[in-house]
């Protein structure tokens, strides 16, 4: 997986320097994450296997939400209904899986993924056909999906089949490698790598970068935008399923996932103007955001203050990024 589409073929052809330059932001984030892990270990010497395990499980749903957001933002849009789609898909899964056999569980997972595609398709169709701004359409739809989730389950309830929980809980071979991390890597890779290498993936970048040039290059702008929302719907459904898998219960009220996904996308180096970035950056950003939260608990910081600190760090990092970009342009 690479950080951006243009980098794909360059990996083989270009020397190391080019790779470093192209993926500078992602590598910077990775460095920051390592520093943060060391810092965590310093302030909380007991942080170890169980900490990593907990982190991976907490990150999994949000990372998939960030992936969903990243695809739409790369294509020049935004989706504010991701949190609600997660809630809806997760309660549908919880309600249908409760006390069912493993085989039924498989059927439910497939069904829920299809529902995710449909939800994304509705979002995309509304944005493309009505030409109402995406921010308005997806905000409105977020209420629709959230309301539908409450119709499925009035209160938190339902349950998950055993195999789904086993899929994400516990280590994978080595105790340091959480299964949740493997699941995340596999899911994102299986969906995104083929997509990114296809003409459709290129078209996502194209319409996000310059819609007129994309249109004149023979890209069908409407269809491409529609499909970006469909992919986001699929990722949201996966996020919903993983939310159920990690908590074991369906919660009809959407969590803070929508706004966190936007934050992760921005921190992850995806331009909100579209056309730039990838999926690795946002996923690393999600890990950083979660770990920051944990560290602040370790430091016994007031929860409200922790939220403030998180926001300040986000603004600071994004400003740094903008500053670096501007300086590079000036040169």
């Amino acid at each position: 997986m690479t950080a951006s589409a243009p980098a794909v073929e360059e990996r083989r052809a270009r020397p190391l320097r080019g790779i470093l330059q192209r993926n500078g932001w992602t590598l910077g984030l990775l460095g920051f994450l390592v520093v943060l892990l060391v810092f965590t270990k310093v302030i909380q010497p007991s942080y170890g296997v169980s900490g990593i395990q907990g982190l991976a499980i907490a990150v999994l749903p949000l990372a998939l939400a960030a992936a969903a957001q990243a695809v739409v933002v790369i294509a020049g849009g935004i989706d504010l209904s991701i949190g609600s789609m997660m809630a809806l898909t997760s309660v549908i899964a919880a309600a249908r899986m409760d006390d069912q056999s493993a085989e039924v569980g498989v059927t439910v997972v497939v069904l829920v993924l299809v529902i995710g595609l449909v939800l994304g398709a509705v979002n995309g169709a509304l944005v493309v056909v009505t030409r109402v701004p995406d921010i308005v359409v997806t905000l409105a739809m977020s209420f629709v999906w959230a309301g539908a989730a409450l119709l499925v389950l009035r209160t938190p309830g339902g349950g998950s089949v055993e195999w789904l929980r086993d899929l994400v809980l516990g280590p994978f071979g080595n105790e340091w490698i959480p299964r949740a991390a493997i699941v995340l890597a596999v899911v994102v890779a299986v969906i995104w790598i083929p997509l990114q290498r296809s003409r459709l993936g290129l078209s996502f970048y194209a319409i996000g970068s310059n819609q007129l040039a994309a249109f004149r290059s023979g890209v069908s702008v409407g269809w491409t935008k529609f499909l970006a929302y469909v992919v986001a719907g699929l990722f949201s459904a996966l996020a919903g399923i993983m939310l159920l898998a990690s908590t074991g219960i369906g919660t009809p009220v959407p969590g803070p996932y929508t706004l966190l996904s936007v934050a992760a996308v921005v921190l992850g180096g995806v331009s909100l103007a579209g056309g730039r970035g990838g999926l690795v950056g946002p996923v690393i950003a999600v890990v950083i955001l979660s770990l920051l939260r944990t560290d602040m608990t370790f430091m016994r910081l007031n929860t409200n203050l922790a939220t403030v600190a998180q926001g300040v760090i986000l603004v600071g990092v994004v400003m740094l990024g903008t500053f670096l970009t501007l300086r590079r342009k000036a040169e």
Binding site: A5, N210, L212, A214, S217, G218, V219, G275
Partner: protein, 523 residues
């Protein structure tokens, strides 16, 4: 292109591309009435027309970007109804625009993949066009604009389209590249392909084109064989029968006498920037100076520099004899130099009232004393509104006003603020004739009150109607100065095409000189 159906064996006279009776209207505005274009196989065909003749709409229809209301388009005898550039591309019509259609955030190779362009022919075409060692891994954003135009053209040529449509693609291209492009295009002549060539440069048309189709006000008014002396005929067709206009603003008496006494309101000396090359002129007090230029000759940048939005690379500006340097429009406004744009939306707060819009620059000036002096503001603004005859029924929100009245508001705000030098960039674009006349009068009033006015216009008759004299800009240089009394459309249009004086013999003699001046300018 491989997917394009091969033409049946026909007589050579059968056109490869044939468009007839094409019409298109946008709301009440008729863009095309009855446009036609017939291009033979192997021909290089120019499509010409003055600004607003419907050229760009016609191009959009040919490339599938816009659907016509009426008319038929056939390619090699087969009926076409392309609904998108993608479809037109599959059907063998590929276009290259002045703005390259490459995706800035992708590298060159990804852009080629996006349009499914084969790599080897692309390389070969790049060699031919003089850009042999291009690194395909470079991000498009990092490549200079001129090279991007060449890359865009190579990409179009690489898929061997039946019809190649070049829309102003040589405009503002450096001379050496422009030559390469023309050579490459000329090589297509007589082959199985055709080229539709759109350019403002008569010399290029003469160099490469076989025939020219001329549009005027949405109609195809003629098809001309391009040869020596056909410029005359083309210019004539572009203009049509020059309508007799009532002289709207004749009073230009006191100007000349006053002018000699004081330093010029605005003095421009050797201004240079990316698209502007060594431009010098004076605007005297009491004078309306017209600026005539075809699109993209550097006038946009010149006005940005004069209005303080952009710093020039070199040269000197003086206002009332005092040397000035503008880093921000506020600096220019402080010196009494104000800017009126063609696009009203750039200048107005659409949701606010007429009064507030007029008071905006005015109140920011007296803000220094703390509170806005209500009655003083009221008096100044009231006076301005009265003077402009702005329809007061819709004064609550500026966006409810007609375009003409909106433009009057943007001018009125500067009248209220007291202005020394007004820069107007095509202020009457899309405005009805009555309001236009009011604007001419207003500009004349301003001049009579001692201000200088610089008026760029895309409508040639405005030079006669509103100006005292005009300068003509071509390729970023001032190429001519014409007195308003002599400024008939033919003279202006010829000057705007850098064609030199009218005599036919002189055209040919002049052409190389014009060409080299252009090369210098672009390089």
């Amino acid at each position: 292109m491989s997917t394009a159906p091969t033409a049946p064996v026909t007589a050579p006279a059968e056109p490869l591309l044939d468009a007839t009776g094409v019409a298109k209207r946008y709301g009440a505005v008729v863009a095309l009435r009855d446009a036609s274009l017939s291009v033979r196989r192997g021909e290089i065909h120019a499509l010409m027309g003055a600004n607003g003749a419907g050229k760009s709409t016609f191009v959009k229809i040919l490339t599938g970007a816009v659907r016509p209301d009426a008319g038929t388009i056939t390619v090699a005898g087969l009926l076409r109804a392309d609904h998108s550039p993608a479809q037109a591309r599959r059907n063998g019509i590929v276009s290259v625009y002045q703005e390259p259609s490459l995706i800035p955030d992708l590298d060159v190779r990804a852009n080629l993949r996006l349009t499914e362009t084969p790599l080897e022919p692309f390389r070969a075409k790049l060699d031919e066009l003089g850009l042999p060692r291009l690194d395909l891994g470079r991000s498009v954003r990092s490549i200079p604009l001129a090279s991007l135009r060449i890359i865009d053209l190579a990409r179009a040529l690489a898929i061997e389209p039946d019809i190649l449509l070049l829309d102003e693609m040589t405009a503002a291209l450096p001379a050496n590249l422009s030559e390469r492009v023309l050579e490459t295009i000329a090589r297509a002549r007589g082959g199985s392909r055709s080229v539709v060539f759109i350019s403002h440069r008569m010399s290029e048309i003469r160099l490469v084109c076989d025939r020219a189709t001329v549009l005027r006000e949405g109609d195809t008014v003629g098809v001309v064989d391009v040869n020596e002396g056909s410029e005359e005929r083309i210019v004539e067709l572009m203009l049509g029968e020059i309508a007799k206009e009532a002289s709207a603003v004749p009073e230009r008496g006191a100007t000349a006498a006053r002018a000699a006494e004081t330093p010029p309101r605005l003095s421009v000396r050797n201004i240079a920037a990316r698209e502007v090359h060594d431009v010098s002129f004076d605007v005297r007090a009491g004078e309306v100076l017209g600026v005539v230029a075809l699109e993209g000759q550097g006038q946009d940048q010149l006005f940005d520099i004069l209005a303080g939005s952009e710093r020039p690379d070199g040269g000197e500006l003086r206002v009332d004899g005092k040397a000035v340097s503008f880093g921000h429009p506020a600096d220019a406004i402080r010196e009494g130099v104000v800017y009126v744009a063609a696009d009203r939306a750039e200048a107005l707060l659409m949701q606010r009232s007429v009064r507030e819009n007029i008071a905006l620059p005015f109140s920011s000036r007296i803000r220094r004393w703390g509170i806005i002096n209500g009655s003083r503001e009221g008096r100044a603004v009231g006076g301005a509104i009265e003077r402009l005859q702005i329809d007061t029924r819709a004064q609550r929100e500026v966006r409810r006003l007609s375009g003409g009245n909106q433009q009057k508001v943007t001018i009125a705000r500067w009248v209220a603020g007291g202005v020394h030098m007004m820069l107007c960039f095509d202020p009457t674009r899309g405005i009805d004739i009555r309001t236009k006349n009011q604007i001419y009068h207003l500009l004349r009033d301003l001049a009579d009150a001692g201000a200088g006015v610089l008026l760029y216009t895309s409508e040639l008759n405005e030079i006669r109607l509103a100006c005292d004299r005009a300068i003509v800009i071509f390729g970023g240089k001032v190429v001519a100065e014409i007195d308003a009394a002599d400024a008939d459309d033919t003279t202006l249009l010829r000057a705007a095409h850098n064609l030199g004086p009218r005599a036919t013999a002189a055209i040919l003699g002049d052409a190389p000189a014009g060409e080299s001046a252009l090369g210098e300018a672009a390089g």
